[in-house]
């Protein structure tokens, strides 16, 4: 991998919660996934994991990882993304991650359309569109405190914060 170079030293801007040992282990996972050895993971390479085919939200997670928007996840983005699942990341970071799963255009608000699309990914064709729209409308009405028709990060965290997210979005290494 061209970007990895000397494994012992990593640039400080990695800004992750992992120690060297964990980064090395993640590096191995990354290399295993990087089938064409291009140094970044494409959607196809992610999808080569059979268990990920189960998961209806894979595309969203990949998009959230891909911070520079080039369609692929390079090693830095991978580490930063995985770092949000670490025990050491704080609640705020995890909430931001969950929020960005919904916020598809990254404008800081979850609109009606975005919520609909994400829900549609989760239910597939098992619910009719009007049923889905009903659910979405109801959710927004309940959560939208300032009446702008969208859910901001503050409104989101107000609801989700109680749910002990720091325990749910965690991977123990």
């Amino acid at each position: 991998m061209s970007t990895m170079g000397n494994e012992a030293s990593y640039p400080a801007e990695m800004c992750s919660h992992f120690d060297n040992d964990e980064i090395k282990r993640l590096g191995r996972s990354f290399k295993k996934l990087d089938l064409d050895k291009s140094g970044s993971l494409s959607v196809e390479e992610f999808m080569s994991l059979p268990e990920l085919r189960h998961n209806p939200l894979v595309q969203r997670v990949i998009d959230v990882f891909d911070t520079d928007g080039n369609g692929e996840v390079d090693f830095k983005e991978f580490i930063r993304g995985a770092s949000q699942f670490s025990v050491k990341s704080d609640e705020e970071q995890k909430l931001r991650f969950a929020f960005s799963i919904y916020d598809m255009d990254k404008d800081g608000y979850i609109s009606n359309g975005e919520l609909f699309q994400v829900l549609k990914m989760m239910v597939g064709n098992n619910l009719k569109d009007w049923q889905l729209q009903q659910l979405v409308d109801k959710t927004i009405i309940i959560l939208d405190k300032d009446g702008d028709g969208k859910i901001s990060f503050e409104e989101f965290s107000a609801v989700v914060r109680d749910l002990e997210i720091h325990k749910k979005l965690v991977l123990l290494m």
């Binding site: 059979p50 268990e51 990920l52 189960h54 998961n55 239910v123 064709n125 123990l172």
Partner: protein, 431 residues
């Protein structure tokens, strides 16, 4: 220059003598016992010595590494992360329950936090998934002086290479000319296999030999490498069924067909499949024919688990004799990653391993019961083999090594989740 001549001839003489001695020794210790099926117990001693050497070597390496302050490459056998095996329903219910108590009327059917489950599951898989792990060689905790299982040091044993050369020579010398002698072929085959086994320095322990497959039955085993065939065939007579291979394997296959009634086929040919099933049924019904040897996983797995059995062989309705084969990975990894390297490279690796130690368990015969179909029967046999060999029983299809998962799995998850949301809705409308 003239002075060198007598010296030369002396060396040549010495070489000649030592070679002769070597060959005689090999002859005595390998071929003769192979013919008579007698073992000298030397190999057991060899195994014990090897174990001691490995332990010593690992200690030395660790000490050396500590002195130099290096990070030794330590493989993790259990995966990187601690996985939490909960199902979709349990987890979502738990997330919702732990939320603050809202008035029951106002609870929406869908919660924003429902995505947590999917995100976490996805991340777990990305870091460390169950399936592709099975297709790469098992990683060992202690080093066994082979560079393949521990990326630190390279060592090739010369002696074993010589043995291999001899083995190949004899195999081809015996196989080819004796093609024409039907009567001799059975015994010759057995002898050849035994020779191969010695050449590989394979130490095999057979358990429950009274359950060995009989004529008119099908022998079913888990598959790690083509050596499985040698191991089983050296302890009994079988007719083989298998995928047609190119290269060296193909040559061997064609040679074998001349001597014995084996069945080779092309996996992707649909017509072929029916033909094979028909031929297998005929073969099985003829009670005088040899038992058929089949590896229903369809591909080589890395010997930590047993993957889904293809139902074809279980539909025929004959008695199935399951066999479990488990290799001891300390002495040499027998797993053949056919997508990574071909047959000759694999053989070379096998020949230059220290030894191949494995255990073979013959399980009591099973037949399909009246109320179960082929798939259930296959799963039952698979569980028995997995339990005996101490392997993990997996539902995943071995074909995943080459092909991708079908989309039906994702649709199932979606259906499950939808039921959860809509289910709540129905409850509410009732109250």
């Amino acid at each position: 220059m003239f002075l060198l001549l007598p010296f030369d001839s002396l060396i040549v003489n010495l070489l000649g003598i030592s070679l002769t001695v070597l060959f005689t020794l090999l002859l005595v210790f390998i071929i003769v016992p192979a013919i008579f099926g007698v073992s000298f117990g030397i190999r057991k001693l060899y195994m014990k010595t090897l174990l001691k050497i490995f332990a010593w070597a690992t200690l030395r390496m660790e000490r050396g590494a500590k002195e130099k302050n290096h990070q030794l490459y330590k493989p993790y056998t259990n995966g990187i992360i601690a996985k939490d095996p909960t199902s979709l329903e349990e987890e979502i219910k738990e997330i919702r329950r732990s939320g603050s108590s809202k008035a029951l009327d106002n609870t929406p059917e869908f919660e924003l936090s429902d995505i947590f489950y999917f995100c976490r599951k996805g991340m777990e898989t990305i870091m460390d998934d169950e399936v592709t792990k099975r297709f790469s060689a098992e990683e060992l905790e202690s080093w066994n002086l082979l560079s393949r299982t521990n990326y630190n040091f390279q060592y090739i044993s010369l002696r074993l290479t010589v043995l291999w050369g001899l083995g190949v020579l004899i195999r081809y010398c015996f196989l080819l000319p004796l093609r024409f002698k039907e009567f001799m072929s059975k015994h010759v085959h057995l002898m050849c296999y035994r020779i191969c086994v010695r050449a590989l320095t394979a130490i095999i322990t057979y358990h429950d030999r009274e359950n060995r497959p009989r004529n008119g039955g099908i022998c079913v085993a888990n598959h790690t490498s083509p050596i499985d065939v040698i191991i089983l065939a050296s302890d009994g007579y079988y007719a083989m069924v298998g995928q047609v291979h190119g290269g060296l394997m193909g040559v061997i296959q064609r040679a074998m067909v001349k001597a014995c009634p084996h069945v080779w086929f092309e996996r992707s040919e649909v017509k072929d499949r029916h033909l094979v099933a028909k031929r297998l049924t005929e073969h099985v019904q003829d009670k005088s024919k040899l038992p058929i040897l089949i590896f229903p996983e369809g591909t080589c797995i890395n010997n930590t688990s047993v993957m889904m059995f293809k139902k074809g062989s279980f539909e025929i309705g004959a008695t199935v004799y399951p066999v479990a084969i488990k290799y001891d990975p300390q002495f040499g990894d027998a797993f053949w990653n056919s997508s990574k390297y071909g047959m000759v490279t694999y053989l070379l690796r096998m020949m230059t391993s220290w030894a191949i130690v494995c255990s073979v368990w013959y399980l009591p015969p099973m037949t399909r019961e009246a109320d179960e179909d082929a798939v259930q029967f296959a799963n039952r046999v698979k569980s028995a083999i997995a339990r005996q060999g101490g392997l993990v029983d997996l539902l995943w299809d071995g074909g995943l090594k080459r092909e991708k998962v079908k989309d039906t799995f994702k649709e199932e998850q979606q259906k499950l989740y939808s039921k959860m949301i809509v289910g709540n809705h129905e409850d509410r409308s009732r109250s």
